[in-house]
């Protein structure tokens, strides 16, 4: 059982030892990984996924529960350490939600398939505002619905102990709740993101620079307050979206909340 993954520091792109010499990621923890494009975020995930043993370009090593990974341990190596949910992913199988969940559950040898089906739909529907039905076709789901279903599936069926969230947009999915669900199922969650709200949702954030692990911040009280504000803004934007989508309009005479706050806060450009 995985309790802790450690990354032992190697080199950055110039071969200079990276600042962070050891990074421990605990089970049920959320860690954000930030940094500009090309700073080495993907390589870090790749090192973890491949159980690097000073043999990747970064020379990092991975420890599982404080122990090095034996390259001959086929059983461990072939086991999926990392599951992923990303904005780029799509469902491509022409199948109903229900059929596909049972197909996935079967390969994980889950016995009570009916129960897992109900549970996954319940969790997914908790995460998204647009209801998902078991008879819906996977490929017809909206971006938010698909992401919600992917998170629910990773939490309940996939047996990988680490989940990498690669940039999920807030549209149509409650990201805070998604993280709670994943950690609630014992996963360690790595969020690779450029989005400040998502980065501050994590307890800690790792900053990447020039291929190396550069800084490690613990999210402080001010940042948490800011994060709450960002999430409130997101909620308001979501409400505005629904309002406009369902035929609402914004003008001075319309004395509703959308008109009052949102128009002023987000649409009004000060002179």
């Amino acid at each position: 059982m995985l309790k802790k993954i450690s990354v032992l520091g190697g080199n950055d792109k110039n071969g200079i030892p990276e600042t962070i010499r050891r990074l421990d990621i605990q089970k049920e923890e959320v860690l954000a990984v930030v940094g500009p494009t090309g700073s080495g975020k993907t390589q870090l995930i790749s090192d973890i996924e491949q159980y690097a043993n000073a043999d990747t370009p970064t020379c990092r090593s991975i420890l599982i529960n404080d122990l090095p990974v034996n390259a001959e341990d086929e059983e461990l190596i072939s086991q999926h350490l990392v599951a992923e949910v990303s904005q780029k992913m799509n469902f491509i199988i022409d199948s109903s939600v229900e059929e596909f969940i049972s197909r996935h559950a079967k390969i994980r040898a889950i016995e009570n398939i009916e129960k897992v089906k109900t549970d996954i739909l319940a969790v997914a529907n908790e995460l998204t505002g647009e209801p998902i039905y078991s008879t819906d076709n996977l490929t017809q789901l909206s971006g938010g619905q698909a992401r919600a279903l992917m998170v629910a599936d990773v939490a309940l069926i996939s047996n990988a102990p680490v989940v990498v969230i690669d940039e999920i947009e807030n549209a149509g999915i409650d990201r805070l709740k998604a993280l709670e669900i994943l950690t609630g199922h014992g996963k360690a969650v790595l969020i690779v993101t450029h989005d400040p709200a998502l980065a501050l949702l994590a307890e800690r954030r790792l900053v990447m620079k020039n291929g190396g692990m550069y800084k490690l911040h613990r999210t402080n009280t001010e940042e948490k307050t800011l994060m709450e504000k960002l999430l409130t803004i997101e909620k308001k934007t979501a409400r505005l979206r629904d309002y406009i989508r369902s035929g609402g309009s914004i003008d001075k005479n319309n004395n509703n909340e959308e008109g009052e706050t949102l128009w002023q806060e987000y649409m009004y450009i000060p002179r």
């Binding site: 996935h104 390969i107 990773v154």
Partner: protein
Amino acid sequence: MSLKFVIVAGTPSSGKTSVMLHVIRHILTDKIKVAACKIDCLETTDNIRYGRLGIPIAVGLSDYLCPDHFYVANLEEIWRWAEKQNAELVILETAGLCHRCAPALKDCLSICIIDNLSGLDTPKKVGPMLSTADIIAITKGDMVSQAEREVFHQQVQNINPDARVIAINGLTGRGSLRLKNEIMKSQPLETITGQTLRCSMPAAVCSYCAGEMIVGSTYQMGNIKKVDFGRAE
């Protein structure tokens, strides 16, 4: 002279060359001499891509022949060419056109590359290319859901339970290190002459193989097989 002889096959556009380029880059950092040979049908530009790595590269175009038959008939020549290049490792990439390709040799490491987008039933359809491979690399995982990856992985493993299955991203190279390690673990051969195919090649000796172009039974000779319409599909 001993040589590691690695055979790479896979479905069209699955990312065979992209994956192997990442793997070769890893191998070159260990100062091992690598040569590559690409067998294709009518045209290929993959030699340019391999060539950018600065390694010796040969191309064989089968033209009017079945690329697999062409491949097996040239193995000794490819071996001798690789020897002349002083290579310690040769990567032989085949065309991967019909789903009956069966390029694996008994004592050579055989790699099959297949992508997640090809559909859940594809592993069943591709036959010996996948079922006799030692290692199966699955590409394009970044484009499908985690669940689909896991189901596809299982489909592949069901068809070939003994193969080591590795997920690789052909664009970023993620996962390619494990394939490199598997290649480095494989045993070199002393000679390719006398090696045995793991599965027979698709048979093909009929009048059309010999250039016949007209449709109709009277024009057909040799190895002819007809559709059995009595069989329910």
